[in-house]
Symmetry: C2
Subunit: 422 residues, 2 copies
C-alpha cells in the first residue's frame, strides 16, 4: 500500500512537471485570466466551499481541536471574499517572467540575455489555514510555476473543495488544470514521498511552525526555501529621541505580538537607560507585557524575571506579550549582541546620530535593518513589493519578504549566427 | 585529538566571521588595494612559492600521483604571473556590494532600499589545483566576504605558501589578515568539522569532481552552491544550415572536450539526418572522437557502439572525445529528450526557423540555451560577466556562471523618522 501511495504522489509531481512546461510559455494575459477565473470560481462556488469547511470544523470540534485552531480553520463569506480579492491583487502585479535582468552583445556577435524564468514546479507543505491553498497557488501561477499542495489534515475537506475550484478555473482559462495538484490523502507518508520527488519538483516551501519547517529541511532531497524565526531587536541609542523610541518599541512589541517581525528584545544604551527603561517598562506592563530584564534593567524597573547574560532566552522568539530588556554600553555592544543572538530577521536602531544609524544599517547582518521605524514593516506589501509567500532569513536566493521574483529562477539566452569558440 | 582538531577549525571559522564584519564595511578602493597587494606579493615571493610547490611535486611523485595530477599541481613563473593577473582583473571589476537593486519611498514616509551585500563567510573545499586558492580568495574578497580555504592534501605546501602571501597582503592593505583562513591540516576530519560550522560560515562552495561535490552536499549543515555536471546537447533542426551545424557541433565537441560546457550528445532531425549524420560523423571520427549512436544514426554512419533508447549513457557527461548521436522526429522530441536526459547546463539548437529557435529557448529548461552558437560559450568571461567561481545548474540563488554578484546576498535597509505600523 505504501508503494501505491508513493506512486500516486510521484504521478502527481510528474503531471505538475508536464503542466509546468505549458505554464512557462503562458502570456501575462493568460495567467491573469486564470487568476480572475479562480477568484470568480471561489465566489460562484462559495456554498460548496463553506459546506466542505463545515465538515472540517465538525470533525475538528469532535477531535477536540483548540478554539484557536478552529478559528484559523474557519471560512466564512468575508474570508472567501478576501481570498478572491487576494487573487485579483496578484493578477494586478507585474509579470516577473521574461524580465531582462542583463543584456550584452559580445564582440564576436553573440547576444547574451539573462532572463527571469519560472522555477518550474513548487511544492508547498503547510498546516491548517485553508487560505494558504489559494494564496500560494495564485502566487506560484503568476510566477509561471506549477504547484503541488499538501495542506494539513484538519483542512482536508476545505482544501479539496478549493482545489477543485482552482483546477476548474485553470483548465477553462489555460487548459492547464494539472498545474495545480492537491495531495488529497492525509497519510503522513505522502509528505515523505513528496519530499523525494527531486526529479519533478524544483523547490519546496514549508509554511507553518518551526517543527514543520525543521522536518522539511531535514527530510527533503529537494531544495527548500523557508520562512525563518524572528528574534527581532530594537536598540535605543544614547542619542535617541526617547519619545520616538517609546512609540517604536511599543508598536514593535504590542501591535501584533504573534508575528515574526514583532520585537522580542529591547536593547538600551546605558546613558539613557535611567530615563528610558522605567517609562517604557511602565507602558509595556500596562499593555499586559511580561518583562524579563538583565540585572541593570531590573535595577531600573520591576521585571517579572531577571536574566543572566548567558540565558538562552536572549536567543528566543517569544511570539507573545513578553519582552526582554538589556542595558548595553552603546552601539558596538548592541550590534555584537544582535549579530550573536538575533535570527537575522528585522532589527532597528532609534537614534538622532546619522553616523550611528549608518553603522547599524551596515553592520547588523539581518534581512531588514531599520533606522527610526518599527520592525513591524518587514512585509511584502508594506515594502511595496506586493503579496508574499513568506519572509526568508536565509542569505541564499531570497532574503526578506519573498514575492513573485523569489518564486523565479533565471536563464541565460544566447543568440548567434554560427559562432564557435576559438 | 579529534576534539582539538575540531576546535581549531571552529576557531578559524570564528576568526573569519569576525574579520568579515570589517571586510563588509571596506570601500571598493580598500578592497582593490588589497587585491593588488596580493598580486604584488605573489610576484615578490615567487621563489618561496615555487619552492613550496616543488616539495608538493616531490611528495606527489614519490606517492605515485599520475602525470595529469602532477601537471595540475605544478606551478611555474607563467602560472604565478597568471594568478597575479587574475587578481588584477578582479580588482578592475565593479564592486557588487552596496548596489541598489530596488528603492521605494512609501506613502508613510519610510524609505526602503534593497541593497546587495556580502554573504559574510564563504568556505571553499577544493582539490589539487593551487590556483583555486588565489582565484577563490580574490573573488570572495572583492565581494566583501571572508573565506575559509581547504585545498587538497597534494597541494598543502603550495597552499600554505600562497595563504601566507595572501594574508600578509590583506593585513598590510586592510588590517584584515584573518579574512582569509587556510586549513593547514590534511586530516580529513577537518573537512567534516568545517562543514558543520553553520554558525560562522554562510555558504560552502565545493570545487572539484562529482565525488567531492556529492560528499559536501551530503555532509554539510551549511548551505551549498555548486558547479553541476554538463550533459550538453546540440540539436540540428530540419531547417538548419548544415555547414553551420557541422562547425558548431565540431567546436562544441572537440575544442576542449574535458570541460562542462562541451557537447556530449548530438540530436539530429530525421529530415536532415541522411545528409548530416554521415558528414559530421566523418569529421568527428577524423578528430579522434568515439561515436555512439542510436539505431537510426548507426544506419547512416559507422558507430563504435549502438545505444538503445533507454541506455543510461544518454544521461552521461563523458568529459572526453566521445559523442552520442540520436536521430529525433523533430523539435518536440528534441526538447523532450533534453529536458529528460540533460543536466540543465547548456543546450543549443541550430536552425534557420526563428519560431523553432524561440520555442527551443523558451522550453529547454537549462542554465544557458543557445540558437546558432556553440555551447562552449557558457563561461563568465565569454558572457562578459568577468571571472567566475563555477557554473551552477541549480535553479535557486545562482544559475549559470557564478561571479561576484552570486557571491553576494541582499539586505533591506529602511530609513524612517519614527513610523509605526497601524
Amino acid at each position: 500500500m505504501a508503494g501505491e501511495l508513493e506512486a500516486g504522489v510521484q504521478a502527481q509531481a510528474r503531471a505538475a512537471r508536464k503542466a509546468s512546461r505549458a505554464l512557462a510559455s503562458a502570456t501575462r494575459a493568460e495567467k491573469d485570466a486564470a487568476l480572475l477565473a479562480m477568484a470568480e470560481g471561489l465566489e460562484r462556488r462559495q456554498a460548496e466551499i463553506l459546506a466542505a469547511n463545515q465538515r472540517d470544523l465538525d470533525a475538528g470540534a469532535a477531535a477536540g481541536l483548540s478554539k484557536v485552531l478552529l478559528e484559523r480553520l474557519m471560512l466564512n463569506p468575508p474570508r472567501v471574499a478576501a481570498m478572491a480579492q487576494g487573487l485579483r491583487e496578484v493578477a494586478a502585479l507585474p509579470d516577473p517572467c521574461g524580465q531582462v535582468l542583463a543584456e550584452v552583445a559580445r564582440p564576436n556577435g553573440i547576444k547574451v540575455q539573462k532572463l527571469r524564468v519560472p522555477l518550474g514546479v513548487v511544492a508547498i507543505v503547510y498546516e491548517s489555514r485553508p487560505n494558504v491553498t489559494v494564496d500560494a497557488a495564485g502566487l506560484c501561477l503568476k510566477a509561471g510555476n506549477a504547484v503541488v499542495l499538501r495542506g494539513g489534515k484538519e483542512a482536508i475537506e476545505s482544501n479539496k473543495a478549493l482545489g477543485a475550484v482552482i483546477r476548474e478555473a485553470l483548465q477553462s482559462a489555460l487548459k492547464a488544470g494539472d498545474a495545480v495538484q492537491m495531495i488529497e490523502t492525509t497519510d503522513r507518508a505522502a509528505v515523505a514521498a513528496l519530499l523525494h520527488c527531486d526529479r519533478d519538483i524544483d523547490v519546496v516551501i514549508p509554511r507553518g511552525g518551526q517543527g514543520l519547517i525543521a522536518m522539511v529541511r531535514r527530510e527533503s532531497s529537494i531544495p527548500v526555501i523557508s520562512h525563518g524565526i524572528g528574534n527581532c531587536h530594537v536598540y535605543v541609542d544614547a542619542s535617541a529621541d526617547l519619545r520616538m523610541a517609546e512609540d517604536i518599541v511599543f508598536n514593535a512589541k504590542t501591535q501584533r505580538p504573534g508575528v515574526c517581525n514583532a520585537m522580542e528584545h529591547l536593547l538600551v544604551a546605558k546613558a539613557v537607560a535611567p530615563a528610558f527603561v522605567p517609562r517604557v517598562a511602565a507602558r509595556l506592563k500596562a499593555a499586559g507585557v511580561a518583562l524579563r530584564g538583565d540585572r541593570q534593567a531590573a535595577a531600573l524597573a520591576g521585571m517579572d524575571q531577571v536574566l543572566a547574560d548567558d540565558d538562552a532566552q536572549w536567543d528566543e522568539e517569544y511570539l507573545d506579550l513578553i519582552c526582554g530588556i538589556k542595558v548595553v554600553e552603546g552601539l558596538e555592544e548592541a550590534i555584537a549582541h544582535i549579530n550573536r543572538h538575533g535570527s537575522g530577521h528585522s532589527d532597528a536602531i532609534v537614534t538622532r546620530d546619522a553616523a550611528s544609524g549608518e553603522r547599524f544599517l551596515s553592520e547588523v547582518d539581518s534581512a531588514a535593518v531599520y533606522v527610526n521605524a518599527s520592525t513591524r514593516f518587514t512585509d511584502g506589501s508594506q515594502f511595496g513589493l506586493g503579496a508574499e509567500i513568506g519572509i526568508s532569513t536565509q542569505k541564499l536566493h531570497a532574503r526578506g519578504p519573498m514575492g513573485l521574483e523569489e518564486l523565479c529562477s533565471t536563464k541565460f539566452v544566447v543568440r548567434g549566427d554560427g559562432q564557435v569558440r576559438d
